[in-house]
Symmetry: C2
Subunit: 230 residues, 2 copies
Amino acid sequence: MDTKPAVCLLSGGLDSATCLAYARREGFACYALSFDYGQRHRIELESAAKLAAILCAAQHVIMPIDLRVFGGSALTADIDVPKDGLFKQGIPITYVPARNTVFLSFALAWAEVLNASDIFIGVNAIDYSGYPDCRPEFIRAFEHMANLATKAGVESRTKISVHTPLITLSKSEIVKLAHELRVDFKITHSCYDPDEQGRACGLCDSCRLRLKGFEEAGVADPIAYRHADL
Amino acid sequence: MDTKPAVCLLSGGLDSATCLAYARREGFACYALSFDYGQRHRIELESAAKLAAILCAAQHVIMPIDLRVFGGSALTADIDVPKDGLFKQGIPITYVPARNTVFLSFALAWAEVLNASDIFIGVNAIDYSGYPDCRPEFIRAFEHMANLATKAGVESRTKISVHTPLITLSKSEIVKLAHELRVDFKITHSCYDPDEQGRACGLCDSCRLRLKGFEEAGVADPIAYRHADL
């Protein structure tokens, strides 16, 4: 086996599942990395573990990090998740401070240990819900920094690449790509505020984007929503 | 009180203590951030807590992160710390993968929550022991990335600055600055391989750099070394 290793960030959501499936199709040996960061929707970690197994990741690590110490987000602190319609402008309250920076930094650390020069992240700049750290200019800046931060950068060996195969896709294009890659939609979890049975609320930003994406793609979303009209 | 808040990385070593004292003298309300990352020399965390108290940090957080999951360094894995003289070229085995990237990412997350636009890190590019993530070009790249990663970057408010007051100082100049800032040297811990009483070995890279710095600065180092001839 001379497959190239790659670190793949895997939240357990639709986008990261699609990203992992994409990296696998590109022939990478994928080291899947998830974070237990005190998120309210912890069921996504179970989805991540199932996805890593079904997509034959070489290894799956769930890294515990406690961003709650810093507070400041509806996803980690005791603030209600907004459900009054898709977020329109500015930065939503569900934004977790510097989340992708922290996640990519850990991915970089693992990549360095593995001698891997490839990192995959399923960020998306189209239906990105207003997060600054999902934009192409952020990813390019991280990549540049990563090459100065590491042995690879100093010793001029292989350069670190941060791959973002979904970055210019709309949610419906992501659904179509996932369908083509035979991602098992039932395992993916997107909701910010699931109930105790893990059913999606259907009303948070993430559910609304997902539902809109499936509808526009003309693909059926097989997961359970707790509102009967969804 | 209208002092500006700043996040200050604080390892418990001489450099970060000096950096924190410097930030305090500049008038910042300092939020000191240390990491319990499975380091062998955990006594430095006790030093960090004492330094945060004595230097009147507004808050001190010790963030647990488990870089040992990834392995790959003498400071976190089961590899002997080299003691056969000062490191000469290349990157030493005591290098922790992407450490400063990970640490600065957490500092950035906290800064965002605090609405702080200033981060202090005591890196040093002169006697820096060969770490790539102590170089000025890395710091500038991180700062650039940080401004694209955050609300501040998107909403064009105050820009994030990463301050590195020690970056161009030699170890002896750092000792002189620390002396001027009245840093209590006895509390600082530098050794990579202390004994159970917390005494420094005097032989690892970090001890050798420290001893040389004190000698050149003409200042007495008050900490205990376990080798009688030091």
